[in-house]
Structures are given as structure tokens and as C-alpha cells.
């Protein structure tokens, strides 16, 4: 799976979890850029991503993410 494919899948998960068809996340996107991306939504997003890609993150993985690009790099390492 290419990085662009993962970004597209992650974007679809954001759209679904946040119930907002207009969301377009990119590699540089951070939580402050996305309306409603709060701590509870973050949990929902992580769980949805883990389920979708059939992977498991660690709490250390998550704490290292500075933006969506780092999340996607982490997914790439695990699939």
C-alpha cells in the first residue's frame, strides 16, 4: 500500500468519525487544523484506524505523532 493510499483511507476515516464530508487532511495537518478533533475524537480516530488497517499502536507511537504525516508513517511501518 502506497503512502497516498493510506492518506486517502485515513481521510475517509476522519470524514466518517467526525461526520464531516468536507474534511481534507494532509501530511502536515495537526489537530488544531481540524474542527472537532479533540481528545475524545482522537481516541475514536485511533481505534477506527487500528481496526481499518488491522494494526495496533502503542501509547508511545501516538505520543510521537506531530501531524497526520507521522501517523501515516507509523501505519506504513506496521502494515
Amino acid at each position: 500500500m502506497e503512502k497516498e493510499d493510506i492518506l486517502a483511507a485515513v481521510n475517509a476515516i476522519f470524514v466518517d468519525v467526525l461526520d464531516n464530508e468536507d474534511i481534507k487532511v494532509g501530511y502536515e495537518t495537526i489537530a488544531n487544523d481540524v474542527e472537532d478533533w479533540d481528545s475524545l475524537t482522537h481516541i475514536e480516530l485511533v481505534v477506527a484506524i487500528e481496526k481499518h488497517f488491522k494494526i495496533r499502536f502503542t501509547s508511545q507511537d501516538i505520543m510521537r505523532w506531530e501531524n497526520v504525516g507521522e501517523m501515516i508513517d507509523c501505519i506504513l511501518r506496521k502494515i
Partner: protein, 132 residues
């Protein structure tokens, strides 16, 4: 982690007069389906139907009081009602861990309420967070 996929829990609940009346007095849903037996019978039920959200009260009790830790918070829950529930009915509640997400301290369960004949009355899923 306190929970593992497959962990199974059971609990018995009864919709007593006290539970029913407390719900009625607290939330004021006096819809005739819930308060008038003749209305319920007219619509094909054998007696007045209990409020579906009474089951969510039992679910709240289970999550808050019956799990191995009190350090929990509900993230989400979904419930599907399959059959009506009546006053004084005994409910066998089961819940099973279906997902453990250690990265975010989240646990996912599926649950069901069955009557004493083994018929599924309601089922669903919920997710909790384990507080640090």
C-alpha cells in the same frame, strides 16, 4: 491491561415497579405504550411496554459498578431493540470484550439482554475508556 479480548461478564436484572416508576417520574415519558396496557394490547403487545432506555440504565450500572475497575468512562454505546420488555421481566445481561486498544486505553464490548426463554431482547456494543 485489565481486560482481554474474550473476557465475559454476566448480570441479572429485573424491571421492578420501583425501576419503572422511578424512570417515569424522572423522565416524564408517559407515552401510552409505556403506561396504558389497553393501548399497548391494541397495538399488538401483551402488556404495557417498558421504556427501552431502562435497559441503558442497567448498562450504566454494569459499566460503572460491575467491571473489574471503577476507573472507567463511557465513550460510546449503540443498542438495538429486538423485542419488547415488560414489567417484572427478568433480564439476563451478558457482555464480552471484543477489542482492546491499549494505545488509547479503550475497551470495546458487545452486549445483549435476553429473557429467561433465551430470546434476545436487545443487543449492542459500547466502548469505554480506562482512566489513568
Amino acid at each position: 491491561m485489565l481486560f482481554s479480548v474474550g473476557d465475559f461478564f454476566e448480570q441479572r436484572f429485573v424491571i421492578s415497579e420501583m425501576v419503572y416508576n422511578s424512570f417515569l417520574q424522572t423522565f416524564k415519558d408517559q407515552n401510552p405504550l409505556h403506561t396504558q396496557a389497553d393501548f399497548a394490547v391494541l397495538h399488538g403487545f401483551r402488556d404495557k411496554v417498558m421504556h427501552g432506555n431502562i435497559l441503558n440504565g442497567f448498562l450504566s450500572f454494569f459499566i460503572g459498578e460491575c467491571l473489574p475497575t471503577k476507573n472507567v468512562i463511557i465513550h460510546s454505546q449503540e443498542i438495538q431493540y429486538k423485542k419488547p420488555v415488560y414489567l417484572h421481566e427478568e433480564l439476563n445481561f451478558t457482555a464480552e470484550v471484543t477489542g482492546v486498544y491499549e494505545s488509547v486505553n479503550a475497551i470495546e464490548f458487545k452486549f445483549g439482554f435476553k429473557n429467561t426463554d433465551g430470546q434476545m431482547l436487545a443487543k449492542g456494543k459500547f466502548q469505554i475508556g480506562v482512566l489513568k
